[in-house]
């Protein structure tokens, strides 16, 4: 049985070394590619990261951050007026802003609005737009 055991050890070591040697350069290359791709990104692409597939317009993210005070409450309101949404936009835009805009608190009754194609007439009060883009995204405040 000892020979069987030692054969098992040799098999284990041989395959570990062989596959380690084969895949080591590949692993380094993959890590190098990740590093290169990351460093090729702009600061905003890197910061927004997963949000790039959700928020539709990166500028909206930074405008929301700049316009809405840190101590304020806001809400993301979505609607059918959004042009060129990604498949993820309507499903995840609310939760992505919740992560990104902290310490600002989301609140269903908030006066600060991040409107993603929303119907302004249904917001309940006059909506003063402070920033908007051509895709139907706007940021503003209820009067």
């Amino acid at each position: 049985m000892n020979d069987v055991a030692r054969a098992g050890v040799i098999l284990c070591l041989g395959l570990s070394i062989a596959f380690g040697a084969i895949y080591f350069p590949r692993a380094l290359s993959d890590l190098g590619d990740i590093a290169s791709n990351n460093s090729a990104l702009s600061f905003s692409d890197r910061e927004v990261a997963g949000g790039n597939g959700i928020v539709d317009d990166q500028e909206a993210v930074y405008q929301a951050e700049a316009i809405i005070p840190e101590s304020a409450r806001y809400r993301v309101v979505t609607g059918s007026g959004l042009r060129n949404p990604t498949p993820l936009t309507l499903a995840f835009v609310d939760s992505w802003y919740r992560y990104f805009l902290m310490p600002r608190r989301p609140d269903v009754g908030a006066r600060w609005i991040i409107c993603y194609g929303c119907d302004a007439s249904k917001l309940g009060r006059p909506y003063a737009i402070l920033w908007q883009d051509d895709d139907g995204i706007s940021i503003g405040r209820l009067r």
């Binding site: 570990s16 590093a35 919740r98 902290m102």
Partner: protein, 459 residues
Amino acid sequence: MNAHSIGGLFALNLLLLAVGVTILYALRGWVSWTELARLSGVAYMLGVAATSVVWVFELIVGISFGLVTIIGTGAVLAVAASFAGHRVGHRLPGIRVGMKIPRLSFVSAIFAAATIVYLEAAFRAARLAGLYEFDAWAFWVPKAKAIYYFGGLDEQFFRELINQPYPPLVPALEAVTFHFMGAPDVVTVHLQFWFLFVGFTAAVVGLLSGRVPPLFLWPSLLLMLVTPHVGGHFYHPTADFLIDEFFAIAALLIALWLIDRKDWQLLAAGILLAAVVLTKREGYAFGASVIVAALVVTARERRAAWPKLIAVGIVAAAAALPWRIFLAVRGLGGGGPEAGGTGLLSNLDRAWPSLRLAVSTLFDYHLWLLVTPLAVVAILAAFAAGARVLPLYTTLVLVFAVVAFTYSTWAFPSLGISREPALNPIVRLTGEVVLLTPALVPLLLASAWRRVPPVVEDA
């Protein structure tokens, strides 16, 4: 900003290492400074585990979580551990001029160099990584940001963010990194997980070097490092790899205890298992699996062994108690399975596909190369050589892992029978076994080659 953040991370990890060194001093001491250097990875992981667990307790009881609390906790732990170490009779060795530094063998030098090159490449990959993973931006990092901004487990965010019952060790640790970086830098936070992985690697090497021949130790480690799923994922700011790292070191310490019966190994495993149960919900199953496996293999000496093992299990499980109470008080639900208990019977049709998914993922070459098959070969070789304790312990841990992975799909009917990360976390779960292999396979190979790995503990 980035250099400032990285500097902050170095400071934080030095703090964690310092706390861990004092815990190691309390648990076992060291007879030489080179021995401490060898065990610095274990010390670091103990420092991370112990400090993070206390941070979680502080958050639960509502202590304001700022830099003073964070550093004060580390300082109190370090002083308490130093005092305890002194009380039990541990003393620091003197510093001798011309201290003998152990020589590296040729094999160790080659593989250590390869490991360092790999970790350097991983550092560059992690340094500018963005937050792409859904789990990371949907709840792990938002919870950390909430702790950072509001100094605690904010009522609103911890209710509204998904996966409320997940234990908060990782968000607490990330919030601490934000404090040390000076801002919630969601890019540089990836590097903290690189530090943790380096600590894990150093811990495995430190615990096994000198005990098993370098040729048994390093190839297993290198094979784990180069598996396709490890390289691109271990630095993600989620709990998936951290729980595996804590768990693998705990399982290794228990394996060593089965050989050496040194109490410090069990105490250290207890600290790490406490961190395991506070890192992710599957930590309960992971922790139970190693304790039960150790109970089974020590059945013949149960009078001496079982009280200690059961005590470790109880301490680790008790660490989760404050969090469970906190969830109940806030009415956040326990996060149990969608179809646990009798629900499993009404979803019997999912049992076989769930098992097949668990096993096929574990053996998936494109994810984990040959890591699992080679672990099985190492177990069989150890059995063939007449060893019993280590191969049986490892077998049981692997079998329990497969059972847990199967249950995770079977008991959650909303999960697809799929390896697609958006549909099922099975790939992340199986990392538990993969990170365990470089810790246990070298011991199995040593058992198979010459029966019993020698004891090299010198303290």
